[in-house]
């Protein structure tokens, strides 16, 4: 199961960005996981919770957007959902000149975090 390695990579990247931005806590993380990314979302969610322990992400919610795999035949321009296992030859013309439109995503989309409160300027400073 490499989902633990992936979860640690996610936490490592966000922890670095959060520290740089002086965020005090991360409340949620949004990931995109494509159908053909070779990742089991449930295993990733389980690993994520463990990987967050004792970091600024502790207790953060993981939101996984699963992305369906779609392909397009270059010669006949037909598009189709590849399914699983994927069909990457054209179901229309049988051609093999295929372009993958989606399905390989494994991306940190966004993070929601809390900033340390900044000192409010006083009247005198304004």
């Amino acid at each position: 199961m490499h989902e633990m390695s992936l979860a640690l990579a996610v936490v490592d990247q966000i922890d670095g960005a959060a520290r740089f931005e002086r965020a005090t806590a991360v409340s949620s993380v949004r990931l995109q996981v494509g159908e053909l990314a070779g990742v089991v979302p449930d295993a990733l969610a389980f690993s994520f919770e463990l990987a967050c322990a004792e970091t600024v992400l502790e207790g953060a919610e993981l939101i996984i957007e699963q992305v369906a795999a779609r392909a397009r035949c270059r010669p006949c321009t037909r598009t189709w959902e590849t399914g699983m296992p994927p069909r990457l030859t054209c179901p229309g013309c049988g051609g093999a000149d295929t372009e993958l439109l989606s399905g390989r995503e494994l991306q940190i989309v966004s993070v929601s975090w809390h900033d340390a409160p900044r000192p409010q300027p006083t009247h005198q400073e304004r």
Partner: protein, 249 residues
Amino acid sequence: MCRVVDLQQAVLAKNDACARLLREDLAARGTAVVNLLSSPGSGKTALLERELTLARRRGIPVAALTADLATENDATRLARSGAPVKQVLTDGLCHLEAGMLGGHLDGWLPQETRLLFIENVGNLVCPASYDLGETLRVVLASVTEGEDKPLKYPTAFGLAHLVVVTKTDIAAAVGFDEAAFRAHVEQINPGVEIVCTSARRGEGDGALLDRALAALDGAPVHVPVMTQQHSHPEPASVLDPNSLVQSQS
């Protein structure tokens, strides 16, 4: 104050950056990496023993790094070829990552090496996600594993530059349907070359070596459909509009 920050970073960004550096460093010294993936027991080591021996006979400087959870048995077998061999023990980790390789190669990999074979941990799931800086990714399946192996492990077979069938000497005994296997590979990875080998009988001897040397010399390498996805996020409908801009609440 809570902020939603648009990061848009690949989860594997760090591994991919390490792999890119490794590929460039090795290319600068004239070395190409061949990454061998298969399930346990498919015959990676037996095939590699033959290819390394053949390379030595032909005077081609090769080296091999073999990864396992435990034991140095594979390194012992491969070293019989006379090529420099290194065993990497992953201590239970199910795959190799690009960042793990640098430390193993520094001070060990002979400068004149033209081909470095990496025998990945026997596993068709996890190693598929990790680029090791290879020029050629080879996925093996033995005739005993069934014709539908490519359908069961689409990520591994879908990202292969070359597919190798092993143990063809016993294909008839186990009723291996080569045409069905080829059709399944074509469905997942259209256009990829499939080579049949038998380490016991010598069928396909040099196939790996010849293709790796050609790739090292700049011959075009197959581009799998799965590696051709545009980098733009698609479909747009799955994106949360709030995540596209930095918003504050």
